[in-house]
Symmetry: C2
Subunit: 528 residues, 2 copies
């Protein structure tokens, strides 16, 4: 399986299009064939119209059929894992083992969302039966649930070419919820994107689903994405990437004649607080754990720990010295793109010049897109007075913040911007003494971690991958990972006094799908 | 109990403030004492800071305590119902019986939301227990739920001085979810607002809740509302009113450095489609039912049926003639405000001048704020070509759209903007033949009604009062009525590897609150 360089418009291909681009191998420092032309405006419109045409059938598609389709995509990915990993490896510089694991995770989340679609709990089906005799007014029959919102646009992310890209969590959860999806491919891995897109289309055909269920669009610039977000037929947007990019899309969507939601997962510093007690208990394990979490994926994870907050002590200084030594000997690795490498160099240079900031470690870098850890340290007073130090540097760079005392540590916590995660390491005996700090962290993050590390995201019913702004555009009301992700692609619908045969099966008396429903205020999986 | 004309800032009062205004009695055409000064900027800031200070305690407040507080407010309202109805009657021109019913409904919804808070199902508590032995990676313990979002601003609505105002659905659901509330009073019923505000504050004190739980602010203009929506400490906004007002607030909130959600319930035309079969079956009942629905509350309900779509036939013409006759003899009644009366006169005059639009009925009007039904008719071809005919006219005015055939009726449905409700009247034998029309209506509305009328809103678990834009600002993802309304004031939080005693009780092993939780993928009300 190889990419041929064309956008996928329903079951067809994009035309010759506009300015073209090629993938770039950041490890080898070379461009890779083929060329991917920017899709032209008429093909964008065709993709949207196909999605519009497919949407009513999709909104009615049974959960079982959505589940079958998602499982089919998962199988298709697994059947081509070698081809996918080879191409993705070239396009991202990521090692094969990581990419194999990511394909497995992507298939796993497709199957978990399939299960959610099949089970249907997420629909929140509710029934209030009529009471025609009630006084002073009869009570009507009301039955309500979530329904698919319609055509959705997903922006592929660069840092996870499978799990957050073409067949990643946004696409999978939108399909699971019953929405057609148009993916704007990330230009950093177009070949991988096209291959995955074709595997999705195989599943569309094999499952007998309508053309327009899925399209994949390439763009050398930003215009296609902007057109999609502003298109009146598009109902919602999923995005994973930078704060700047996410905010631009959110602003475009909010300014539409009819605003639509943008679920943008953006930057996050993922602070890690470490108490003296934790250092006394397990400094060596903390050095290893923090080092692993901060360097996995060359620091290019949204959950990368970018801020380490410590009370100054000789034990803490010793801890940082050991961590620094380990970082210094961390081999250089390849960043995803030339642009990211440039930003990493620029951002770390800028940080080095901030008042009160000292370089902790900066290993020499050689390869074009290579990066090794660049860590900084500063005093809490500088952190508290300089907002630039709160900003995420994407890549293997973190900032150690030294606090004079616990009050200052607490002040740093209160100053934090919204993050996907916030972590506290404390000793067993001092955990309850840290309750107030944990409360502040819970106000600042979507996931609070005790004695663990933020990277290594579990895809489950209970996970939350979302947090207060700026980590996400919707302030953490939703999650982009886990089965709650389906809720983003739906709205409420209520049927009043409907004849049973006109209701969707989810709300019919006999409960043919065996859903768990709230019937007259009580949960029931039975018939009425 | 009488209003004294001051904003309520926590347990204190607002200072002398700026430009003041008085309530206006639209039936008597006179201003009513006392004066209400616009709250000054320092008092606005004080209200916000008190809410900020109260928010952490509120986020942790047990559901039982929130429930007790809401029930206490309900009792306080009922204990002062005569005073409240007397003042509200003066300020709104609404009849006493309607206002008494509205107080009862308001108390009822406070109690329903109390029950939701006590029960805690809405929190969506989920637990995935750790699997330390899992390979290749151990599974951490994840526990997640919704948590209160923080200080919320609610804009009182003019048309329901109790149910959608100071202690109305937005306030009640925000309290139920665990958020402090600042209400910006609607200037049309400031005395009622102050009295209800004081009753809420009695409940705050009686329940031992912190100052800052509630504040009530008066403003002769728009500045206080704008300041609140833009204030960095405010986390969400509830609004019921015009499309113009709602969109202005939504735009302000979206442009903030940190955007926040605005749940605005705005205009809605609430189309009613009537088939030939329905007319053959029960024309007389349809005349009575539609007349009642279109004139209740002088047409000032958000669910007022503003569009009636019919296939032309002699039966349909006869139906409209009988309806017209009934409308013509409907007594004039008082609109809520001078501004609404002015808008009603202007909007109906403008509609009368639209090409292809004919006046069906226009009773003479005498009193200053009096209005009687003003109905229009037009052909589907004019409706389809003129967006102005899709716009809501607030008050007792509706538009009959005549279709040549069913295809045209279907085309009208497809052209509809988003509405809170859409209604189809069909005969028993033709219901399934209307399935495609019902599908289109379900795409355009939050609540689809078969053989009923849109007014008379049930407050329940299953109701949806929300719909696609422009009927609501969030496209119908949420509801402002019913127990699902709590979800608007919350975001997700996940705890990873937390010691049991550090978890909120909702997520602890012993399940001390007896919540229904999703534990390792299975619903359970037991302990772990």
């Amino acid at each position: 399986m190889k990419p041929d360089g064309s956008s996928l418009i329903g079951f067809g291909s994009g035309g010759p299009g506009g300015a073209s681009f090629k993938a770039f191998d950041p490890a080898m420092d070379i461009f890779i064939e083929p060329s991917f032309p920017t899709v032209d405006a008429s093909d964008v419109e065709r993709a949207v119209q196909l999605a519009v045409a497919a949407a009513p059938a999709w909104a009615k598609l049974a959960g079982a059929q959505r589940g079958k389709f998602l499982r089919c995509i998962a199988e298709n990915l697994e059947s081509k894992i070698d081809d996918l990993v080879a191409r993705a490896g070239q396009e991202t510089g990521l090692p094969a083992a990581r990419l194999q694991g990511e394909v497995a995770r992507t298939a796993g989340q497709l199957r978990l969302y399939a299960e959610a679609a099949e089970r249907g709990d997420w629909l929140d089906a509710r029934i209030e039966t009529a009471q025609p005799e009630r006084t002073p007014l009869p009570k009507p029959d009301h039955r309500s649930m979530l329904r698919a919102i319609g055509p959705v646009v997903v922006f592929g992310s660069s840092n996870f070419p499978f799990a957050y890209s073409v067949a990643g969590g946004d696409t999978a959860s939108a399909f699971a919820a019953g929405c057609p999806v148009i993916v704007k491919a990330h230009p950093a891995h177009p070949g991988t994107s096209e291959m995955v897109g074709r595997l999705i289309l195989h599943a569309v055909r094999d499952c007998g689903l309508p053309e327009g269920t899925f399209s994949l669009l390439f763009d050398a610039g930003f215009e296609v994405g902007q057109t999609l977000v502003q298109h009146p037929a598009i109902r919602a947007v999923g995005f994973t990437g930078s704060l700047r990019g996410g905010r631009a899309l959110t602003d475009l969507a909010a300014a539409r004649p009819e605003p639509i939601p943008v679920y943008a997962e953006m930057g996050s510093v993922n602070p890690v607080f470490i108490t003296a007690g934790a250092l006394a208990e397990r400094a060596a394990a903390l050095v290893d754990g923090l080092h692993a979490s901060a360097t996995v994926g060359v620091g290019q994870f949204c959950t990368n720990p970018g801020l380490v907050v410590l009370e100054r002590s000789s034990a803490a200084e010793n801890f940082v010295a050991r961590l620094t030594e380990k970082l210094r000997t961390t081999p250089e690795a390849t960043l995803l793109t030339v642009g990211m490498h440039k930003a990493f160099v620029g951002n770390t240079e800028r940080r080095a010049r901030q008042p009160g900031v000292k370089m902790l470690v900066q290993a020499p870098m050689s390869a074009a897109c290579g990066a090794a850890p660049v860590w900084f340290e500063t005093e809490a007073k500088h952190f508290l007075g300089n907002h630039a130090l709160s900003e995420e540097i994407f890549g293997p760079s973190s900032l150690v913040v030294w606090c004079e005392n616990r009050a200052e540590m607490f002040a740093v916590a209160q100053r934090l911007e919204g993050s996907l995660t916030a972590t506290l390491h404390a000793a067993a005996g001092e955990r309850t003494a840290q309750r107030d700090l944990l409360d502040v962290l819970a106000e600042r993050a979507g996931r609070v971690i005790l004695n663990g590390f933020p990277t290594g995201l579990e895809v489950s019913h209970a996970i939350v991958h979302g947090g207060p702004y700026p980590s996400t555009s919707d302030g953490g009301r939703s999650t982009s990972v886990g089965t709650r992700a389906l809720h983003r692609w739906a709205r409420l619908i209520c049927y009043q006094n409907f004849a049973d045969e006109l209701l969707p099966p989810e709300l019919q008396n006999t409960n043919p799908l065996g859903l768990r429903r709230l019937v007259n205020g009580e949960w029931s999986s039975g018939r009425i």
